[in-house]
Amino acid sequence: MQDQSPSIIAQDGLAALIAALQKQGYRVMAPTRHDAAIVYDEIAGINDLPAGWTDQQDGGTYRLLRRDDAALFGYVAAPQSWKRFLHAPLAQLWQLENSGEGTRISDASAPQDRLALLGVRACELQAIAVQDRVLLQGPYTDRQYQARRQGAFIVAVNCGQAGGTCFCVSMHGGPKAKAGYDLALTELLGEEHAFLVEVGSERGADLLAGLPHRPATAVETARAEAIIAHTAASMGRTMPSDDVRELLLGNLEHKQWDDVAERCLTCGNCTLVCPTCFCTTVWDETSLSGEHTERWRRWDSCFTVDFSYLHGGSVRTSAQSRYRQWITHKLANWVDQFGTSGCVGCGRCITWCPVGIDITAEVRAIRESPAAPGVKET
């Protein structure tokens, strides 16, 4: 499928793409400007894309800026990932009616609407693949995730620039979309504002066939490749990742955990913006009469005290232990559990940490002064 040679669509082709998806019954979710950020939300058409806007990201800071062109995808990762739509932040699981005649439990229905995700970056495709492994391919299938995921049409966008906190190259995920999409676009700016389209699935090919398009020339294909190569060469962050599992697990008592705990707010932002963090908590809501009960689920975070509450108390009361749990799970134990790293290098945990804690800098600090395993430096 992916060896089909690329095509070119102009802006009217992109508008037609959005309309065609809507006609097929998809709600099209895409980057759109809302207040001081470009967020993913439902769009009505091409005019809702943030034309001429870009973002500037660094540790603990995000600013929206004007571009000097009309690029539609001239920015990087949004504040929150597509996880919002596929693995919903809040969901009802079941309800129970308790009447005089007995008890009746009914499952909450899985989401019925089909989503088209437009503007999915390579790091985000990789994150979706990671969540697939956790929520679909393990011993238990998450039915709500499954309903959303199987219905989703994915239009990827290859990044035309790297952000200040991007490090997908280090995590072997980007900036070029490799798999997991129906169509992938590379935005070509210049005299003709157009998009090079690569096909990743049968239904992607079918959709493209109905749009105004033409074959890409060799020059256009080379231009798209050069754009992606330039993005790859300008990552804002790097994190040598091949030995990071051994590095972290060999330094569980490193003094750096104390150092980061002094800065860490244990607010949970990093885990909530992370496109692969999947943890949830459940609770029951009961009516005062006791006749009606609902079980709900919401995103949780390993940075809360309650997260590790076992009989008699929490086992991770210090900020040291909670930060260490997150980063060692993400970068080390995830590999043992799911066969890949839990990090895709999107940089969200760096940008959206209110105090700018940088996962790449923490790993570097440990790398540069490794302590003897099991020995806590004083």
Binding site: A36, Q80, E262, R263, C264, N269, L288, W299, V305, D306
Partner: protein, 260 residues
């Protein structure tokens, strides 16, 4: 069904406060009949005329202790109540009126009142828990009515209320609000503040004011370092921690590290 067991008797007591929190109970319009069906509202001067004396299964206590009379009365309330829950920032942390704890209250009285000799007040505003044993503290200025219902519900069902003590940031992320601190450099207490309001202010592009008091493990020193880098003065930092919960220990301690 067998004869219904006796309905739990609910009482609402007021100390130094604005009444906003007990009004949250009356504000539960859709659920009020259900509440009245599940509990016997035995003492609630703001809502009912009748006084039922005796003991109460659940006492909701609003307000802080600011007079010698109230300091004695709260012990009487405790003796009458099987389960005592404080509602709101005043009862839980001394409230706005705890700002007096940082100043000389007699000076205020001299400046504000024409006849200072009529005023009989303590030098401090203190939370209920400094005077008696409290079974549960519900945060907020004012409290969230959904959380109040949850507390009543939990009490009727004999379980722990579900009022997560993590940061307000969780609530911003759940509702999809972009972080105002990161995206516009707005001073925000959300990362050190107890959840419960549903992150109302950031949804309107305002930083969190800390109405629900400190979260479970607040790292105020680290937050203050970032806010100072945003350009907040020492004075502004002190004021930030001294609004609705100035007497709450972590906020008090942080406010004392700043100031002119």
């Amino acid at each position: 069904m067998a004869t219904a067991p006796h309905k739990p008797r609910l009482a609402v007591f007021k100390f130094s406060s604005c009444d906003g929190c007990q009004l949250s109970l009356l504000d539960c319009e859709d659920e009020l009949l259900e509440v009245a069906g599940a509990v016997d509202i035995a003492y609630f001067p703001e809502a009912t005329r009748g006084d039922l004396h005796g003991t109460y299964d659940l006492a909701l206590v609003e307000g802080s202790i600011t007079t010698t009379h109230d300091a004695a009365r709260i012990h009487q309330v405790r003796r009458q109540s099987r389960r005592l829950v404080t509602i709101g920032a005043c009862a839980t942390a001394g409230g706005i009126q705890a700002l007096r704890n940082f100043k000389d209250v007699n000076e205020f009285i001299r400046v504000v009142y024409a006849r200072p000799e009529y005023i009989d007040t303590l030098a401090t505003s203190t939370p209920i828990s400094q005077h008696i044993k409290v079974d549960f503290e519900l945060r907020g200025c004012p409290i969230n009515k959904k959380q109040l219902l949850e507390v009543i519900n939990a009490c009727v069902a004999g379980r722990q209320p579900n009022t997560p003590p993590h940061s307000v940031c969780h609530e911003c992320k759940l509702r999809g609000t972009t972080c105002v601190m990161v995206s516009s450099g707005t001073a925000c207490l959300g990362p050190v503040t107890h959840a419960g309001c549903g992150a109302v202010c950031p949804a309107y592009n305002r930083g969190c004011y800390g109405c629900f008091g400190p979260m479970e493990t607040p790292n105020t020193a680290s937050l203050s370092r970032s806010l100072r880098a945003f350009g907040l003065s020492e004075d502004a930092l002190q004021r930030l921690y001294r609004t609705f919960n100035p007497e709450a220990k972590p906020f008090r301690a942080e406010s004392e590290r700043h100031g002119a």
